[in-house]
Symmetry: D2
Subunit: 248 residues, 4 copies
């Protein structure tokens, strides 16, 4: 490990180019969506991604999120539904990854997501079986099985183990049908290292429970939501990284 | 009333031009999303919209929806949440309205929506107060009050009464923040009659319960969802029109 | 022949949908570019294209042009260059063709063009050898030879002969390098009949000399340019059709 | 002056982000268009732009060009036109400038240009009167007069004098009519310093005569074109800078 932080200039250039790309693709990036948690570096060892820069095509867990909406959809709910409202809600974001970069292996206990590729190709890795307790969760559809991994996927150093259970692979392209990732399924994805552009993905999902530094102090719709963190990362180091980005 | 149906040629031209516009704007319109319920004519008296055609700028309740996703998000839900799942879910659609045309005054008991204008201007009319029973529904945020209506809005003949309770007005443009319409709020919108293009709006929402002809026979995730219709239109005639389009 | 004209409603719907598509693709279509020569029907027998409509996929010579620029580039030219200025200039247009429709076989004595596909696929047919008089014209590069025609290209009724000399074929896609069609080369193109969208092509070229009805009375930069018509169509009927569109 | 070059990493990041932005906006940037002359730094003293980076909003003469076409349009020309062919031809490029950055004051003796803003706002400065010798050049139209400069335009250090003759100002926006800059007119432009995105402009023009390092050795259509440089910069230092970029 040679890097302990990203510089302010590196961070701002990363964010500003991404804002431009998002706006060029008509994503409604408003100024309030741009903050010091938009760029995510998943753990101390991932800051090395900035040693040779985001265009080096090296495998690191580094990505960027502009979130246009995170709506609890609590208003107008029958009072008795309060206990389950944290599984619902509406979130809309755009995710931008440079070539070779990964969104790390993780799952959400509450959040179900759907992907739409806007630019580039999304290489999606997942575990088709859910992490559920027999008989305690509802089941309607099954996640399709996917294909075997392509040859030669370069994984982030020291994190290969976290990706091992994600045996299914699916390549998603602009214009493809939306792909649903139900809650309680392990998943990860990357931008192909030889891509000419960053990967740009729209994700709509149920509410995103993430106590990031930027969101600290925001009011919550129900008491139980305070401090809730719905991301479970396979690599322990990724967990802490998600919530704060060290910029100097 | 002079028209009792839309011709197959009129319908197909309407749909095909809209598919092209959607694809040009990068919305993922797949062939399976194109069917005889994509074009919606809200009631017998609205077929007259085709007498002078969709570019006449006359006020009619006629619109088009391509729905890229309608996901119940039931999988992985705690079993005890089943009774409230119909308030959750994820729907993603694009709505296309020609100049002067309206999405009629209605509300949803379960569905909360968020709008993003992709092309043109959205003139939104709504009632800021929800239709709720005191003390039985949760309340977190309030819908902002909006502005008074602009002068001279031409309403569809015979349906002015349905719009009367929607006293708030808001103009939405491309790049604006997403606008949330919580469940149980009356709303309607139109494309300005002098627009050079149709209005194109992305809507993400919770699950859309609509027993359209095209959806008949689709499996439902929970028994209670069968035949559920979550749209309540102020004009009775609009209700029936939503579910079937007469094409000859 | 059953049709002698296009109706005002048919024409306006054709144009308005195309304006919308052009704007969605960011082409700068201003109101002054929209007139009764934007839609082109190449000869009396081609009005039948409207019998079953532009989405029938039938082969007709019917297309639409929005021209954003036609600049003589005469200002600042050395006085002695006046005789050759009609070979230069700058024109920028977008051309929109519905599935199955053709831009007919023709050549320009003065105009050199370059194509950029914005939406859909362009099927280009051309004669690789120029129509020049040995020793009287400059020669620098050669037009590449192209491929043989694909199987089963449905040509417009009664006009097959005009396409016979265009033995080379090339398919152009969005993102491809610009393709140059030098002056004095026969060429034609179409939108594939099974396309889900119209073909949209940007063309930049030297000045476009076309005495259309809409351009009548426009000032010319040099006396010799008045009434100049630089299109030579292989089918005689196409020639007259280009300059006026019968709308009733 | 603290900087004598741009680093390879700085250059490649600049170019790669711009390629992505160009592709997102559908400009056909092919790999062969990306080289070490795409990024232009107009003179030794302008390398300081990289001291605080392209997003500092400081005024420097630094821009980027991806050129999709530079076609002489010599083929098929009457032999007697050879002497004047260098005033004609077809060039298509996209120009990308970061906030606060300028394309410096210059004119072309041969090239006439037209601008189309794709993203952001173009602040154009020009001299409405041409640099011509009375009676020796053709004249058809006049460049419109423009407005006075807005308040507080921050000019590049040491180069204010070069901009003094450019007394006319014009703001160009996406969707505006193409703006023609005839040959022999001084002009410059910038991206507003408070812009959220780089300025992206399409320029079509007659042939671009620029003996850049990357173009060295390319065949020319006529002997007199070899080594021709049609850019005259007001600041002497800008001239040399255009043709080679120092990357280490």
């Amino acid at each position: 490990m040679t890097r302990t932080h990203v510089t302010r200039r590196e961070y701002d250039e990363w964010i500003n180019e991404a804002v431009s790309l998002g706006l060029a693709l008509r994503y409604p990036v408003t100024p309030s969506m741009v903050n010091d948690n938009a760029g995510i570096i998943f753990g101390d060892d991932q800051y090395d991604a900035f040693e040779r820069g985001l265009w080096s095509s090296e495998p690191y867990e580094v990505m960027l999120i502009f979130q246009a909406l995170n709506e609890p959809t609590v208003d107008g709910l029958p009072a008795a539904a309060a206990d389950y409202a944290e599984y619902a809600g509406l979130c809309d974001k755009v995710m931008i990854l440079h070539p070779g970069k990964f969104c790390p292996a993780h799952l959400h206990t509450r959040k179900t997501e759907a992907y739409e590729v806007v630019l580039g190709e999304m290489e999606l890795f997942y575990k088709p079986e859910p992490h559920v307790v027999e008989g305690e969760e509802l089941q309607f559809q099954s996640l399709p099985l996917g294909e075997p991994w392509p040859e030669g996927v370069a994984l982030p150093a020291g994190r290969a183990e976290a990706y091992a259970p994600l045996t299914s692979f699916k390549r998603l392209l602009p214009g493809d049908p939306k792909f649903v990732m139900p809650r309680k399924h392990l998943h990860a994805f990357r931008c192909p290292p030889d891509s000419r552009t960053p990967l740009v993905v729209r994700e709509i999902s149920t509410y995103s429970h993430e106590p990031t530094e930027s969101a600290a102090g925001d009011p919550v719709p129900l008491p139980g939501w305070a401090g809730l963190h719905d991301n479970t990362f396979m690599a322990e180091a990724a967990d802490s990284g998600r919530l704060v980005t060290r910029i100097q």
